[in-house]
């Protein structure tokens, strides 16, 4: 066991969450739940962070921000998707501007579902993430950690809903209507 997981620093970014999960993430850091007892410190600088907590689904504008923060973090790093929106898009999956969960932008290691995610679930996910972090650290030390691969950049137009992309569905509806007239 290394010193890394004794005091992991985390960075939190709100992709397009409703705030519910964000305030629960912050609540974790405060006296009631207190993840600082695991040596965890919330930092604002991606270069200092080992754990990336993302809340909310990604959309057209913030996908590049999420990817940039991820790329700025140094290996070994762990990504935790907090809340059902970050896991899959949740209740907003059908919205036109939601591309889906965080895993469409960056590789995710731990999923913590819930709407809003409960602090206990976040603590559990972070502790689970520490195990992944240790594995990655060991692999990195042995020179066996493969470089992180980012998924292909999607756009809202290619977003699939019920097997049909959003743009095709809109176009098809419009065409059908013009033909009817």
């Amino acid at each position: 066991m290394s010193s890394t997981i004794k005091s992991p620093w985390l960075i939190h970014y709100d992709a397009s969450s409703c705030n519910g999960c964000d305030i629960e993430v912050l609540a974790c850091l405060t006296p009631m739940y207190d993840v600082e007892r695991f040596g965890i410190i919330n930092t604002g600088n991606p270069k200092h962070a080992d754990i990336f907590l993302v809340t909310g689904s990604v959309n057209e504008r913030n996908i590049s921000v999420v990817r940039q923060i991820y790329e700025q973090m140094l290996e070994p790093k762990v990504v935790i998707a907090c809340g059902i929106c970050a896991c899959s898009g949740g209740i907003f999956k059908e919205c036109y501007n939601t591309l889906g969960g965080v895993d469409v932008a960056i590789p995710v290691d731990v999923y913590a579902p819930g709407c809003a995610v409960r602090p206990e679930a976040i603590i559990d996910a972070v502790v689970c993430g520490l195990g992944v972090l240790e594995e990655k650290r060991a692999a990195l030390a042995a020179g066996e950690l493969p470089p992180a691969e980012l998924p292909e950049l999607p756009t809202a137009a290619d977003k699939q809903l019920d097997g049909v992309s959003v743009r095709d569905a809109a176009a098809a509806e419009l065409h059908a209507e013009i033909r009817d007239e």
């Binding site: 019920d162 809109a170 033909r179």
Partner: protein, 164 residues
């Protein structure tokens, strides 16, 4: 309620929330907004609603404490609507939003984001029949058009029962 005269006589009861909607022509809009400004009213909201034919119904809301009045204007997405951000500066927010989501053309917005307010890759997502969306579909018609018939059924859930 369609007349201004009746609207000002509207009895604002303390228990019911005021519901005043005044039909307005686009040409009269600015003078009416200026009138509210002179009376010391506060700008509340601009709300677009897509109509079935691709037009947009704009609702401008103004308030003075309890009284709340809404101007209703129907505009085409090809005609320019004069911005009211020189009268009420905070209207720039929703004018930009209405431009991005509904395709309404506003002229003279104080801070004009020029379509970059929200990043949306489907043009005018809230108003799929706006002229911009139709033009975008016409451009990419070759690839999509052939499958349109087959997919129309699957996409049918967006068609709404209330439109007659």
């Amino acid at each position: 309620m369609t007349q201004t005269e009746t609207a000002t006589e509207y009895e604002y009861s303390q228990t019911a929330k005021p519901q005043v909607f005044i039909d307005t022509e686009l040409s009269e809009l600015r003078s009416k907004v200026e009138e509210y400004h002179e009376r010391g009213w506060r700008y509340v909201n601009i709300c677009g609603t897509a109509l079935p034919d691709g037009q947009v119904e704009l609702i401008y809301s103004f308030s003075d404490g309890l009284p709340l009045e809404n101007l209703r204007v129907v505009v085409d997405t090809t005609t320019e609507v004069q911005s009211i951000s020189d009268i009420f500066p905070n209207s720039f927010f929703f004018e930009n939003e209405t431009h991005d989501l509904f395709g309404v053309q506003f002229a003279g917005i104080s801070i004009d984001f020029d379509g970059e307010f929200y990043t949306v890759s489907v043009p005018t997502p809230m108003n799929p029949r706006s002229s911009q969306a139709v033009a975008a579909v016409a451009e990419g018609a070759g690839s999509v058009g052939a499958e349109a018939g087959a997919e129309a059924g699957a996409a049918g859930d967006t068609k709404r029962g209330g439109r007659k």
